[in-house]
Amino acid sequence: MSWQVATVADVRRETETARTIVLDVPDWPGHLAGQHLDVRLTADDGYRASRSYSIASAWDGSDGSTIELTVEQVPDGEVSPYLVDVLKVGDPLEIRGPVGGWFVWKPEQEGPVQLIGGGSGVVPLRAMLRAHAVAGTTPVRLLYSVRRPESVIYVSDLKELASSDDVDVRLVYTREAPAGEPRVGRIDAELIEQYAFKPEDGATTYVCGPTPFVETVADLLVAAGHDPARVRTERFGPTGGPR
């Protein structure tokens, strides 16, 4: 797997701190929904910094050679501020991938799909929803936890995806909810009971988000009787609380 030079074809502001970057990658080999890639930046004196980012788009070969990344700016980050604020259409970007064979959804996989995302943890889940929209035949549910309405990434996209009979999207607001939404608070046991597939449904569950979010949700799922072997997780950022 070698580094290749992609070209920025388009950029889309998603929230105040997140941006989707559309990349034209001439030799992209394709990827599975949920996989990530490495990005490498090089300063003019040769200094380099690399990070991994989840791929936000699905690959079915029909998009030509285009893939999408959605990057959330990390406070004090080195690479993400460049990707969110500096990189512009027409710029080159070195990438390497795809990587990862565990946190992936494949269309031939049996059983319903439960997606649970916190913040920018929704990015690989969006790739799964996109892939499912093309080739999925089983029901899929997304529980998406955000701080406030302005924090929602992929607003219009999620609306479109949720219009399918197979897809159920439920937003959870932890700090501030839009008018008409009475519930403000984190995902808890009651919400899991209400909106997630039941253990007997045989769903594969994908949980992605900041470490404390994933720890909490995964523990809730196991406590509710879900088989830990069917709960796949991807964590990012520091741990909360004492360790």
Partner: protein, 198 residues
């Protein structure tokens, strides 16, 4: 040489000697493939199984009765963070394997929760690895692999199996969890062996 990223200056590390492609963190991020298993020390057991099928077992009391070492090491995660001078307490694999009769070349570490990772046996010996049960002076938190994890700091940190429950020794090398999912079979951070084929 690759391309130059227009407008990128970078946040220089300040002379710290890190493996290539790594950045320094003072946090302790977590990389796990599934829910965190919560294992009580009352139920904890560590088993070494040799290539002939012979088993050696330690329960929590037996492990913690063995001579323990204070370990201070840099750790390097394949997701690119490095953390310097982390402090641990644990039992050296040299101690645990001292009376184990084996001619095996490879080990597969097995964890509660089903995780596995493969290592050459020689990378576990000669003061290179431990079963660690304290981090930073405290019992190792479950999120970070407690009650006990394998600690092999000279390799990428996914080799330091959390919630470790045993080693299976073998003459042939099989691949573990991440190694089957596209990551390097050995994982030397100084050679930047992140992915299969690196």
């Amino acid at each position: 040489m690759g391309i130059v990223s227009p407008g990128f200056t970078g946040r220089r590390g300040g002379g710290t000697d890190l493996p290539p492609g790594q950045y320094l963190t003072h946090e302790f991020p977590v990389l796990s493939a599934g829910p965190t298993p919560h294992i009580l020390t009352d139920h904890w057991e560590f088993t070494v199984t040799t290539e002939t099928g012979e088993k050696y077992k330690w329960d929590w009391a037996a492990l913690t009765a063995l001579p323990a070492e204070e370990i201070t090491k840099d750790i390097h995660c394949v997701t690119r963070w490095s953390k310097l001078q982390t402090t641990w307490k644990g039992v050296s694999l040299d101690t645990l394997l001292a009376d184990v009769e084996t001619g095996a070349d490879f080990a597969m570490a097995h964890s509660y929760g089903g995780y596995t990772t493969n290592l050459p046996l020689e990378d576990l010996l000669d003061g290179q690895s431990w079963i660690a049960y304290e981090y930073d002076g405290e019992p190792l938190h479950a999120e970070h692999g407690g009650p006990a994890r394998l600690l092999v700091p000279h390799l990428y940190f996914w080799k330091s199996a959390k919630w470790v429950r045993g080693l299976v020794l073998s003459d042939s090398e099989d691949l573990g969890f991440w190694e089957t999912a596209g990551y390097h079979e050995y994982g030397d951070p100084w050679k930047e062996q992140r992915y299969a084929g690196d």
